[in-house]
């Protein structure tokens, strides 16, 4: 079965500094990878996804993620963090079932705290 791991429960970064939220994956076949963000008391919002093509994927709110096949990683990055980026971030992978259908497996989430 496919899986994703987010090794950090929390990441703290100063406003204006670059940020990285880590995600590693384990899949058989081509990975379909996603990042979602959850603000307090809200549902998840899609940020970006990697399906195929360029390893650097650009998404919403200035975020980007780099797909690294050799390291099986899909880290989320932003060049300059904002206080408003403080939220819970989820990495997800598509898991194809034996029935042919598929579902999404979410990581455990990483809380990003941007300090003013």
């Amino acid at each position: 079965a496919q899986s994703v791991a987010q090794p950090e429960d929390q990441v703290n970064v100063a406003e204006g500094n670059p940020l990285t939220v880590k995600c590693t994956y384990s899949v058989s076949g081509n990975p379909y990878l996603f990042w979602y963000v959850q603000y307090p008391n809200r549902g998840l919002q899609f940020l970006l996804k990697y399906i195929t093509g360029d390893n650097l994927v650009k998404g919403s709110y200035g975020f980007e993620a780099e797909f690294n096949k050799s390291q099986t990683s899909f880290h989320l990055k932003k060049p300059s963090a904002l206080v408003s980026d403080s939220a819970l971030y989820f990495c997800a992978v598509r898991d194809i079932q034996t029935s042919g259908t598929y579902k999404y497996i979410f990581g455990t989430g990483t809380r990003l705290k941007v300090l003013a």
Partner: protein, 114 residues
């Protein structure tokens, strides 16, 4: 316009009661989902319906019964509520025909069982 809406937003009830959560999407998507997010923020899929047909049914107690009257609605009924059912339940939708579908989540329903 809210893309994926859920009602109620908060639900507080006693153990043993039966309750329902409703979900509606106005995105024209063909697939809808229910997720459970526990107190540690772990998010796990429970069910998925594609064109009103159940396609994903995780290991969920049969006290939980989803119902999809049409493609735009997916309701979740829970019988004999237990303390461990306390969580935030998220509905989501996507368009599976694209095969690389992005999910759109509702705002969540916080269920507290006393």
């Amino acid at each position: 316009d809210t893309a994926v809406s859920q009602t109620p937003k908060y639900l507080v009830t006693q153990m043993g009661n039966d309750k329902s959560i409703k979900c509606e999407q106005n995105l024209g998507h063909d697939t809808m989902y229910w997720y459970k997010q526990d107190s540690k923020k772990f998010l796990k899929i429970m069910f998925s319906y594609n064109n009103k047909e159940l396609i994903i049914n995780e290991t969920v107690p049969n006290r939980f019964s989803p119902k999809s009257p049409d493609k735009a609605h997916l309701n979740l009924h829970i019988n004999s509520l237990e303390l461990g059912d306390s969580a935030v339940y998220f509905c989501a939708s996507s368009q599976r025909t694209t095969f690389t579908d992005t999910q759109y989540f509702g705002p969540g329903t916080r269920l507290t069982v006393l």
